[in-house]
């Protein structure tokens, strides 16, 4: 899907192309590079930790497990304890980080595209505030810890996030249609209201403050295979929808009137993208708490490499977001080992200087 982008007008007589950074002419290369980066991040994620695992042995063990059913034995694997750490702790955690990072980044890019606003992030329409209220309510008041195999906090966070976005959409619709600015303001109103509710509940239940804060700052420490499997279908479907909408979002970028004149239904498209992005966000938030920064900044990092076209930006954001969160999670669990830093703090601590540097070098190159 990206090969065409690079060769779009190859038939043109070669003119000068001064202001085009290298990467924008080779979106396929950037996409492949992001894929490799994600793969490397995943490997680093399983190698590094309180108990370092030998890289070669990790790969051997993984291959052994993958090829085992085919009757192929790969020698040189990890010891029993190490293998348990790898399979029970590290692998689900790293995969969950990749999924959450990918979902937040692609949802952020989609929100930025749909609102034509570089400051948009996946939490804009009340997803974060709703999830926060839901999680805080059940941490403070719920007598049970789980419903069946699923924890009660993820469920409440998921429901809260969808409730938040749903209210914003409803408010936006009754006050002036799905037009960008009205919907943004509706989202701000809903988010402020839900945040106030969350603060109120939190202040009345100071005993649970620590747990609530832990959740609000984002956490991957309790990641289990069940978390990965529970969110995978939601994240998979919503991210797929968003990736498919990339080209349509590019049409929407010329404004509603012109998009209509090109045969697109701006209102329907916007609703589809917002619903898909919100579903992705809600699923991510449910299993990881509120991890800031990824959804806002990763799309901008991706934009530096592939330009503003959503058809290219969304897949690259997805891959870079996954890699970014896996690596920040590594930092979160290594710097104060055996304790851990909240990942939401680390994303900003690492991401902000990194992004500032990118802006700095981008400005100097021009």
């Amino acid at each position: 899907m990206t090969a065409t982008a690079g060769s779009g007008t190859r038939s043109q007589p070669g003119g000068p192309a001064p202001a085009t950074p290298r990467g924008r002419r080779r979106p396929g290369l950037v996409l492949a590079g992001s894929g490799v980066a994600l793969l490397l991040a995943l490997l680093v994620g399983v190698w590094v930790g309180a108990l370092p695992l030998a890289p070669g042995a990790v790969v051997a063990t993984l291959l052994d497990h993958l090829l085992g059913p085919l009757g192929i034995d790969v020698p040189g694997g990890l010891s029993g304890t190490e293998e348990a750490v790898l399979l029970k702790l590290r692998l689900p955690r790293v995969l969950l980080a990749a999924l959450v990072g990918a979902a937040l980044a692609v949802a952020g890019a989609a929100y930025q595209g749909v609102f034509r606003n570089p400051l948009a992030d996946p939490y804009l329409l009340g997803a974060a505030a709703g999830a926060g209220l839901g999680a805080t309510l059940v941490i403070a008041y719920s007598p049970v810890q789980s419903l069946g195999p699923v924890g009660i906090v993820p469920l409440a966070a998921f429901a809260g996030a969808l409730l938040g976005v749903g209210s914003a959409l409803l408010l936006g619709a009754v006050t002036g249609g799905s037009h960008g600015p009205t919907l943004l303001l509706a989202g701000i109103a809903v988010a402020a209201f839900l945040s106030a509710g969350q603060t109120l509940v939190q202040q009345k239940n100071t005993d649970d403050l620590r747990e609530i804060y832990g959740w609000l700052l984002g956490q991957l420490g309790k990641a289990q295979w069940s978390d990965v499997l529970v969110v995978l279908p939601y994240l998979g479907v919503s991210c797929l929808v968003l990736l498919l909408c990339g080209r349509a979002l590019d049409v929407l970028a010329v404004g509603d009137d012109e998009a209509s004149s090109l045969g697109v239904h701006p209102g329907r498209l916007r609703l589809l993208v917002i619903v898909a992005a919100s579903l992705a966000t809600a699923s991510a938030v449910a299993v990881s708490g509120l991890i800031g920064f990824v959804g806002l900044v990763v799309p901008h990092i991706a934009r530096r490499f592939v330009g503003g076209s959503n058809a290219r930006l969304l897949p690259v954001s997805l891959l870079v977001g996954g890699a970014f969160l896996v690596l920040t999670d590594v930092v979160a669990r290594v710097v104060v080992a055996p304790a851990e830093l909240p990942i939401g703090v680390v994303t900003a601590f690492i991401g902000a200087p990194f992004f500032a540097g990118l802006l700095w070098f981008g400005a100097r190159r021009r």
Binding site: G8, Q12, P18, A253, R303, S309
Partner: protein, 269 residues
């Protein structure tokens, strides 16, 4: 779905606007507007600020809720699927939104949207049409440049190229010269005229410069207070009386080289 470029010289369509009324809330802006443009004709809608020119174009395109009917070659556009309408009519707004961070050729390629599935990548035929259009409009050397780095005149041509990449039968232009100086305005209008003559495109445009409107369009419609108060050849519509009555303007209309020229007259004393 055969990958063929339609032959050069696609023919324009007849556009009929019948009893078109539209408004904003309770305020009526257009009142039973009736207009007809023949295939390959150029109708310029003129009129003072706020007379409803832009609303008329937006209603014809179906963006604005309206009563009455718009027919393209006799087919009402109301029931037409949006994509089909987009293959018949292309539109360039007064202030186009130029997306950031995309190249000129990517922008022009957006014009192919109604011709391919929304999710699909541009095909060979799309790339060919885009390359052709950009070559014709002298945008070939700017293909790989970010749209934002083009000059105002080049951007206007890029918008026109995007509309032409739609391979429409009718081109609707809202103030195509609004932000251009005289030279660039003439370039754009010459270009539209050339395309009209070569492809037989039907052109409906609003134009605030009355002299230019008279020079390029073969028919003018003067819109005032939401009604068409005069329609006909430039010489019939552009009269000092009409300008005084509907624009509140003091002007002389003199015979110029390419049609009537409107000469503002300064009040004395």
């Amino acid at each position: 779905m055969s990958a063929q470029t339609p032959p050069e010289g696609t023919t324009g369509a007849r556009v009929e606007v019948v009893g078109l009324s539209a408004g904003y809330g309770r305020r009526q802006v257009l009142d039973s507007v009736r207009l007809t443009v023949g295939p390959g004709g150029w109708l310029a809608v003129i009129g003072p600020n706020g007379s409803g020119k832009s609303t008329l174009l937006r209603s014809v395109l179906g963006f604005h809720r309206h009563e009455g009917q718009v027919r393209v070659d006799g087919v009402p556009t109301n029931g037409m699927p949006r994509r089909e309408r987009a293959r018949a009519m292309a539109y360039a707004p007064q202030i186009p939104v130029l997306p950031e961070g995309i190249t000129t050729s990517d922008y022009v390629t957006l014009g192919r949207t109604p011709h391919r599935p929304l999710l699909a990548a541009p095909r060979g035929v799309d790339r060919r049409v885009v390359a052709d259009v950009m070559e014709r409009l002298g945008l070939g050397p700017m293909a790989k440049r970010p749209l934002a780095t083009l000059s105002g005149g080049e951007q206007q041509r890029a918008v026109l190229a995007r509309a032409l990449a739609q391979q429409p039968r009718v081109l609707l232009l809202d103030e195509p010269t609004a932000s251009l100086d005289l030279g660039h305005a003439q370039q754009v209008l010459d270009l539209v005229d050339l395309l009209r003559r070569q492809d037989g495109l039907t052109v409906v445009s609003t134009l605030h410069d009355l002299t230019l409107a008279g020079q390029y369009a073969d028919r003018l419609a003067l819109l005032s207070g939401g009604r068409v108060v005069a329609e006909g050849t430039p010489a019939e519509v552009l009269t000092a009386e009409a300008l005084s009555a509907h624009y509140g303007a003091r002007a002389q209309v003199v015979a110029g080289p390419g049609g009537p020229a409107v000469l503002p007259v300064r009040s004395v004393g």
